[in-house]
C-alpha cells in the first residue's frame, strides 16, 4: 500500500475540499483518479472523465500515465489561468 497526499485547487477544491491523505494500490495517476471517481458523489462529478482536470505529481505538471510512488503529493485542478 502507498500513502498519497492529495491536494485540490480552484473549482476542484470548492467541490472536494483542500485535500486528503489516502492509502492506495493505484499504479498511476489515472488509476488514482479512477479510484476517486469510483467513490461517486462530488468526487465523481469534479474528477469526471471528459472534464478538464490537470494534474501535478510532487509539484510538477504531470500526465495521467505517470507512476505513483509511495509518499507522493498529487494535485488535481482545472486548467491554469494566471498571468
Amino acid at each position: 500500500m502507498k500513502t498519497i497526499r492529495i491536494r485540490y485547487f480552484a473549482s476542484v477544491r470548492e467541490a472536494l475540499g483542500g485535500g486528503e491523505t489516502v492509502r492506495t494500490e493505484a499504479g498511476t495517476l489515472a488509476d488514482l483518479r479512477d479510484e476517486l471517481i469510483a467513490r461517486g458523489g462530488a468526487h465523481a462529478t469534479a474528477l469526471a472523465r471528459g472534464k478538464a482536470v490537470r494534474m501535478a505529481r510532487d509539484q510538477l505538471m504531470s500526465q495521467e500515465d505517470a507512476e505513483l510512488a509511495d509518499g507522493a503529493e498529487i494535485a488535481f485542478f482545472p486548467p491554469v489561468t494566471g498571468g
Partner: protein, 162 residues
C-alpha cells in the same frame, strides 16, 4: 551592495509591486546590460461579455515558485539574457490593480523582447494560478484559452492546458 548579491527571481505575494524598483534591483549596477523589457498584467473591468467587479487569485504554494523558477532557467538556456524577474500577486484584486510583472535584462533588445514574451506564454499555461471573477451573474472561474496553448507552441513547447 555586494557584487554577488542576487535579488530573488520569483515572488508570489498579496501586496502590490513597484515596477521601477523591481527593474532597478534586477539591473543592479551591471553595465553589460543595454536592454530592459518588462510586461505588466492588470485587472480588466470586463471579461467574456460580463462586468468584472473583482478578481480572486488562487495558487499552489511551492509548486508555483518552482514552476516559475524552471521557466526562468529555460529562458536563460534559450536566450542570451542577463537576468529575469517575475512577481505575481494572489488574493483579492480590483479592476485597474496590477496582477503580475515580468522583467528581463540583456545586452541587446531582441533577446529581452523574446524572453519576456516566452516567459509570459509559459506562465499562462504552466504556472498553477487560477482566477475567479465576481460578475453581476455571480462568481465564476475564468476559462483557460486555447490561444494561450498555441502561443506556447510557437516556442516548440507543447501545452495541453486549455
Amino acid at each position: 551592495m555586494a557584487a554577488d548579491f542576487r535579488p530573488p527571481r520569483v515572488s508570489v505575494q498579496t501586496e502590490d509591486f513597484d515596477l521601477q524598483r523591481e527593474i532597478e534591483a534586477l539591473h543592479g549596477a551591471d553595465a553589460r546590460i543595454g536592454a530592459v523589457c518588462s510586461f505588466v498584467g492588470t485587472v480588466r473591468d470586463r471579461n467574456d461579455g460580463s462586468a468584472v467587479a473583482s478578481m480572486e487569485l488562487e495558487h499552489y504554494p511551492g509548486m508555483t515558485e518552482r514552476a516559475i523558477e524552471a521557466m526562468i532557467d529555460q529562458a536563460h538556456a534559450r536566450f542570451d539574457i542577463l537576468g529575469a524577474r517575475v512577481v505575481h500577486r494572489v488574493g483579492l484584486l480590483q479592476p485597474l490593480d496590477r496582477i503580475m510583472m515580468v522583467a528581463v535584462v540583456s545586452a541587446h533588445r531582441g533577446e529581452s523582447f523574446k524572453a519576456c514574451e516566452f516567459l509570459m506564454d509559459y506562465l499562462k499555461t504552466q504556472a498553477p494560478f487560477w482566477k475567479k471573477e465576481e460578475t453581476p451573474e455571480g462568481a465564476r472561474w475564468v476559462d483557460a484559452r486555447v490561444a494561450d496553448d498555441a502561443a506556447l507552441a510557437r516556442w516548440g513547447i507543447e501545452a495541453s492546458n486549455a
